[in-house]
Symmetry: C2
């Protein structure tokens, strides 16, 4: 749209002045930061200018005004608490640092899809409104669905598994929902999950897929986002492949030596993860061979040692980025596992039906987009890596 | 994963036989359709085979069994009602026709993102759980959000508008939710919307963007999906640019001549759309110059004739594919429009705040993915174009 069109628009709203031949003059746009300004002029190379170019203006127009004082300083020079910043998120996002974060977010997604495309995955869309809890009833948001109760999906887990019996290799990048009561720097109520599921595969196949993806994205971001990384004062080091695999038992032994004893079968609590992070700073690594009881019902127990399962978590320092594994594709085993976890097989009848129609062996994982973005941008709170975060206390803006 | 690994897996579950040197033999895998079979062998060119190649097997294994009778015939030779098919959706999806539909779905998305990337748009993620209704309180799904009431977003409308003041050109492809009480072939409760918003632009700019996207995608699908189009017996004709623009008044006059009088200011009802479809078969066209009262509060009224607004719908035959327009970027006008539509400006305080921080003029649109897929695949019901559709009556599988 040319400035002429904008001029028509503004005429009825403001008395804008046209200021021709500004060359050589210093123009202060009413001294008001964040006004929207239209400039017509000639772009020239400039060594003084930060971006290497400047516009020699011939015409300047105010297209919209900002009211002062602003809710916060959008240059970031006057620091503000995270909550204040999130309340005025649009102003906050205008800081160069935040613009850099979400440019990197964009490139992670773009590179991830490029990688999946190359690997022959089909993009799928699974329902976000579901009738029953997929991984037990905990932490679900209830939805009033016409005259029924429904829930927001926590993950595409069972749907993506089923679709491997149709399309073999599938992926979805979509929002999912978890009613997290706890207030941590890593958990939010609405998050983007990068999900993959692949037929005729084991956990080893999909761990390779995942570590290759991580390196592919890191290399791509390093190349495409050097400006943004400079703004964020970040340097990306490309890890070597394969990432190290540590067994759950090994991790427990190390943690015990550091004064953090964990009962076998339990998940690793946050303080212990922090210790792990100190032992593996700036390292991507897998924790494998988890106790079957600590993982969801659909993870395949090992044939020769069923108390251990074919599950893995991908870690960076102390942060869990992804988790996945080989899935159970045998109906009887799945029913047994459902019962062991106090889940009612009747609630999973639609999923169990698919086992009667021919279900290939399969494996997959889910990777948290914003956690990966935290790692790349060096942010300590996942809320910095989401445009409009949602949590226990925040539903707006 | 090699067959050896699969062999290990299956050993505990089934007594699988290894059948070496099958060359020249005819193998019937127990006569059971939909069993999952692993075949090791040599791929050879073959004129008899439908795909042009066949595998000369050296080893065949049953990896998982199917139970007969199946819920429906996955070859599609025995036709079934849509509801029966949706109940056994995974089997239904295995029909070549359905696999073709979702391959085209994949390519539409891939091409759309390629186009946005080329045009310099940034991908965004807006919240799906929101505190207040964006377009009035109708047709929203309530969510129990911890101890508060919240809603599922109908569109990213206000968020994407706000983000033009940060990133200028943004897009989102994501699920949105509408509690549609009516049962039609075009409406579902959960749908994927392709949303665009662009600063310093008018409806004319974004109409051009939209028609160029449509042609870009059609050309791409035609090239990449010739096999799938053949299965669906579809031929894609590339429409010429620009698409025709018909004003709302023109459309009303034509419909009146056909015996469908519509009061000025009302939306065009389905029977009248069907008549329009007969007049414009296989044509992409815009309906422009809508009455301000018939469109949402954020659409900009014309400066010289405020009862008409800068809104458009993109139609194909009788189906509305997209709608958009120039947005209001002046706070007073927006408050006036909110009140005219009986909405409480207080409920929109977070959105109105952004107008005090400098808001560029902007325009955009939303395009329904599955409706576009209906058009490309020639399907009469949008449920055919969604993997697991959700509506008034259906919440499973």
């Amino acid at each position: 749209m040319g400035l002429d069109r904008l001029e028509d628009w503004r005429r009825t709203h403001y008395s804008t002045e046209i200021t021709p031949n500004l060359d050589g003059q210093k123009v202060t746009v009413f001294g008001k930061k964040q006004c929207v300004v239209g400039v017509r002029g000639v772009v020239k190379k400039s060594e003084k200018a930060q971006l290497g170019v400047e516009i020699i203006p011939e015409e300047i127009k105010i297209l919209n005004y900002a009211q002062h004082p602003l809710a916060l300083d959008p240059t970031g020079r006057i620091p503000a608490e995270l909550d204040v910043r999130l309340d005025a998120r649009i102003l906050d996002l205008r800081r160069p640092e935040n613009r850099a974060i979400f440019k990197i977010n964009h490139e992670i997604l773009s590179l991830t899809r490029e990688y999946f495309e190359k690997e022959g995955f089909l993009e799928i869309q699974t329902p976000k409104i579901i009738a029953t809890a997929t991984e037990g009833g905990a932490a679900l948001f209830p939805v009033v669905y016409f005259d029924r109760e429904a829930f927001l999906a926590q993950s595409p887990q069972l749907y993506k598994e089923q679709l491997t019996s149709v399309f073999e290799k599938v992926y979805e990048i979509a929002p999912f929902f978890r009613a997290e009561e706890s207030r941590t720097t890593r958990h939010i109520a609405e998050f983007i999950s990068i999900d993959v599921e692949q037929a005729f595969s084991t956990w080893e196949d999909v761990m390779k897929l995942l570590e290759n993806l991580i390196v592919f994205v890191l290399e791509g971001v390093k190349k495409k986002c050097y400006r943004e990384l400079k703004i964020l004062k970040r340097e990306i080091k490309i890890p070597s492949l394969p990432f190290k695999r540590y067994s759950y038992d090994e991790v427990l032994k190390v943690l015990e030596g550091k004064g953090f004893p964990i009962s076998w079968g339990e998940d690793i609590p946050t303080p212990a993860l922090r210790v792990l992070g100190e032992l593996h700073p700036e390292e991507y690594y897998f924790i494998v061979d988890w106790p079957t009881q600590s993982k969801p019902f659909y993870i395949k127990p090992k044939d020769d040692k069923p108390e251990i399962c074919e599950a893995f978590d991908l870690m960076y320092s102390w942060i869990e980025l992804a988790s996945g594994g080989t899935r159970i594709h045998d109906k009887e085993t799945l029913i047994k596992r459902l019962k062991e976890q106090d889940l009612n097989p009747e609630s999973f009848k639609h999923h169990l039906k698919v086992f009667d129609w021919g279900f290939p062996p399969h494996a997959g994982w889910g990777l948290g987009l914003s956690r990966f973005l935290m790692v790349l941008t060096g942010k300590e709170n996942v809320r910095e890596c989401v445009l409009f975060p949602r949590d226990r206390d925040r539903l707006e803006p």
